[in-house]
């Protein structure tokens, strides 16, 4: 191409996530379905040395808590190529599409959403992506979809319900392997709008610790969302050996 390429794409610290520099300065994922945008996001095409083209989709942190957490500098998201992910609160599948990009064809994403209306978009998105399994069910009753979901490595939960810790624990007890991980996004207003956000986060972390979870870190999603936090950790982690 004359004048060289217009954009440079480099791998991010997290596996499967990329950074595009050019007219945009953005987080992106490798598009599993080249030529198609899921929610009208920008796409970036890059030509390799051997002439093959790779397409990336820009990941909007204003619409995705996971992207906001990554930009917030979270150490581990545990979602990487080849992992099996249970995604609670999938909504229209904007973030799910990026998670499906990350895990790639060898991984799988079980996307659970209760609302039929946004579930419709989710199903339409899943038609093009073979590694997404949409489940239109209430995440409070994992027994109803236990036949569809196998053991998973990571649970991502974005349900914004007052009892979200319980929902996460219930799903983890069914599907999350021992030593697996969870990522939960907490919206302080949804749990208790009368106390400061920090107190709500601490309270939620306590609840998680009571349910055999071991939170390892917490980031607030500051410039992108107000009073939101993302907590990452492990489930039924093996006891450390005393030396």
């Amino acid at each position: 191409m004359k004048g060289g390429s217009r954009v440079v794409v480099q791998p991010h610290r997290h596996d499967g996530v990329f950074v595009a520099k050019g007219k945009e300065d953005a987080l992106c994922t490798k598009n599993m379905v080249p030529g198609e945008a899921v929610y009208g996001e920008k796409r970036v095409s890059v030509q390799n040395e051997d002439g093959s083209k790779v397409e990336y989709r820009v990941w909007n942190p204003f619409r995705s808590k996971l992207a906001a957490a990554i930009l917030g500098g979270v150490d581990n998201i545990w979602i990487a190529p080849g992992t099996r992910v249970l995604y609670l609160g999938a909504a229209s599948g904007t973030t799910v599409s990026h998670v499906s990009d990350i895990v790639g064809p060898t991984g799988v994403v079980y996307a659970v959403e209760f609302s039929h209306r946004s579930g419709r978009d989710l199903v339409n998105m899943a038609k093009k992506r073979t590694n997404v399994i949409p489940i239109i069910e209430d995440a409070r009753h994992p027994a109803r979809y236990r036949m569809l979901v196998g053991m998973v490595d990571v649970i991502f939960s974005d349900v914004a319900q007052p009892d979200q810790a319980r929902i996460l624990a219930l799903n983890a007890s069914y599907f999350l392997k021992n030593g697996g991980h969870f990522v939960i996004s907490i919206k302080a207003n949804c749990i208790d709008s009368t106390v400061p956000a920090e107190a709500v986060f601490a309270q939620e972390v306590k609840k998680l610790q009571a349910e055999q979870f071991k939170p390892s870190e917490q980031v607030t999603l500051e410039p992108f969302e107000r009073d939101h936090a993302c907590v990452v950790g492990g489930y039924r982690m093996p006891k450390k050996q005393k030396v």
Partner: protein, 229 residues
């Protein structure tokens, strides 16, 4: 005959240009330019002549309404004031349309900001959020701290060609300019909306400095509560 004449190569006559020493007079005037200039001149001459004739043959006893509506102030002709040209309803309608236009611009500009924001994540800057680590014992704290140092070392940015850096910078500049424009337009919109509300009927008064609950630099008005039914 003429075809024979055409067969012989003739000298080509080039158009004369303004001589260098007369450059200050601009392009050299040709006859067709002169014709245009002369026509315009004579037109003006004619207009003046006609007006002079009109003034000379004026009937001093004749009445015109403009004699009442307008007057000369210090030798300057003052036309009739157009203060009440439009009715209050018409004025209100025009204002509403202006406000509608400004609102439309605010919204379109906001959309553009959102679009730019979706692809500009300020990746090179440290985020301004807070990051909490949970540790069970002292050993784990030390481990996390050492990991943190490693992470900071590995943050050294990968090299990006200069022309691409320039492009990114231009995008950020555009975003900033648009955000500023949105702010300006929103202020303008709220000012216009306030003016429109103030023109409506209803008893209102401007609050004094000490009555304002949330301090602002802008004027604050309060309407008297009115029973509707």
């Amino acid at each position: 005959m003429s075809s024979l004449r055409n067969a012989i190569p003739r000298r080509t006559h080039k158009e004369r240009a303004q001589p260098h020493e007369r450059k200050k007079f601009g392009l050299l005037e040709k006859h067709k330019d002169y014709v245009l200039r002369a026509r315009a001149f004579h037109q003006k001459e004619d207009t003046l002549r006609r007006l002079r004739e009109k003034a000379a043959s004026r009937n001093p006893d004749e009445f015109y309404f403009k004699m009442v509506n307008t007057r000369m102030v210090d030798g300057i002709h003052r036309p009739k004031s157009e203060a009440n040209k439009y009715t209050p309803e018409e004025l209100m309608l025009m204002k509403t349309q202006d406000i509608g236009y400004v609102l439309q611009k605010v919204q379109s500009e906001k959309k553009k900001v959102e679009r730019l924001n979706s692809a500009l994540h300020t990746l090179d800057h440290q985020p301004e959020n807070n990051h909490v680590y949970f540790a069970e014992d002292r050993e784990e704290v030390k481990e996390i701290q050492s990991r943190q140092l490693e992470k900071n070392d590995s943050l050294a940015s990968v090299k990006v060609p200069g022309r691409i850096k320039k492009k990114t910078a231009a995008s950020y500049r555009e975003l900033e300019a648009r955000q500023k424009r949105v702010q300006g337009l929103e202020k303008l919109y709220s000012d216009m909306a306030l003016q429109k509300e103030l023109q409506k009927s209803g008893r209102k008064r401007r609050l004094r400095e000490d009555e304002i609950v949330q301090p602002t630099s802008r004027p604050v008005y309060k309407w008297r509560a009115e029973r509707k039914r």
